[in-house]
Symmetry: C2
Subunit: 227 residues, 2 copies
């Protein structure tokens, strides 16, 4: 149930750093032995090899892994790894980077669940800094992953109340009890509502997205005994 990262370049390094911060178990496949020797320690586990060889993926435990992050610099290599990994494990969640926009569809076809285009995200970000600078500053300062100082969180409704009698957002009244603000709702079918109405019914298998200052999020987790 671990995560495999292919490639310890700039993308892979940052992904590893985040996963470490969140205490997730992962292993990194990297072909550069020097890089491995430099960064191996108690927290970082490497496999020396080429991710586009099936044996290397198997050695990394692709059959029992939950997720594969494909962060190689070359789109053709990522495509090869995505296709191989998909063949080896049908249930794997596969996330790949891509340099070229034209690779997006190909990687999806090969079996990737998510494709991330860093240069596209970066270009968007630069333009948004021109058009809506305060908004970007606000969003960039929201903390969404980490152990403390979180501003935004997704919560399964089952953690908030006994769903055998369905309640609404208004019934739950998180604002009054914790200060938190419900900004999103995802129903059991996976459809999202931004800024849901107070009358929204919190049916089983749905989730809410809450926003708050760190102390409010903390209070919510304490009040509802969420880990």
């Amino acid at each position: 149930n671990h995560i495999i990262i292919c490639g310890y370049g700039r993308n892979g390094t940052q992904a590893a750093r985040k996963l470490l911060a969140y205490n997730k178990a992962f292993v990194v496949i990297e072909k550069d032995k020097e890089l491995i020797d430099r960064f191996t320690d108690d927290d970082m586990h490497f496999i020396h090899g080429n991710a586009n060889e099936d044996e290397t993926l198997i050695q990394a435990g692709v059959n029992r892994a939950s997720t594969l992050i494909c962060a190689l610099p070359n789109d053709a290599d990522n495509l090869f790894v995505v296709l191989s990994a998909r063949q080896l494990n049908k249930n794997l969640c596969i996330i790949s980077r891509a340099s070229q926009e034209t690779s997006y569809k190909k990687l999806k076809l090969a079996g990737a669940d998510n494709v991330i285009l860093p240069d596209k995200i970066g270009g968007d970000h630069m333009a948004s800094l021109v058009v809506v600078p305060d908004l970007i500053e606000f969003i960039d300062n929201l903390s969404i992953v980490g152990k403390s100082n979180i501003n935004i969180e997704e919560i399964e409704v089952e953690k908030l109340y006994n769903v055998s009698t369905v309640k609404t957002i208004k019934d739950l009244d998180l604002r009054q009890k914790t200060g938190c603000n419900v900004i999103g709702f995802k129903d059991g079918e996976g459809d999202y509502v931004v800024n849901p109405e107070a009358e929204t019914r919190l049916v089983p298998n749905s989730k809410i997205i809450v926003l708050g200052r760190p102390e409010q999020i903390q209070k919510l987790n304490t009040v509802y005994n969420i880990d």
Copy 2:
């Protein structure tokens, strides 16, 4: 008061696309003539030349520009352009991309106001997809820039009421009038509050960040006559 984009690679292209969508005037400096011939049209204005020559920057109107987006593939080139542009125009807002994390500080020292690391953002994004997938999907689907279907907006309080008598968020009651949800506040000194209290005083020169479904944001803009 226009924007200059240096480099029409993947980053620069995406930045240009966003600025076009937002009807912002800009010019692109690109040294590859073939690329220019392929993409020049009524909307796209190019200057053929090397951004690290002062004459090219001057030709692009650096002295009267509001913003320069430096999107060259090489960090040393970006550093050179940032430093040159800063010398030519003290008031310019300079946004640069960087590949290496170690370039961040150098670009800031050279005069960049914002430095964007696409690979870092991309790596973060991939890890966050593992840790908080629904949250990332929610945020990715929020529309923050564009003409229609916007979910989130920053608004100067002066556009909402006559600030000669200061009102609070509660007094304004945007939720009742438009359905919009106030999720952030930026005071006159530039400090942000996430999920501000209803009692927050909307002093002159402050801004609020609102979240809503597109029809709610539209209603807010209509009710308050915001363009």
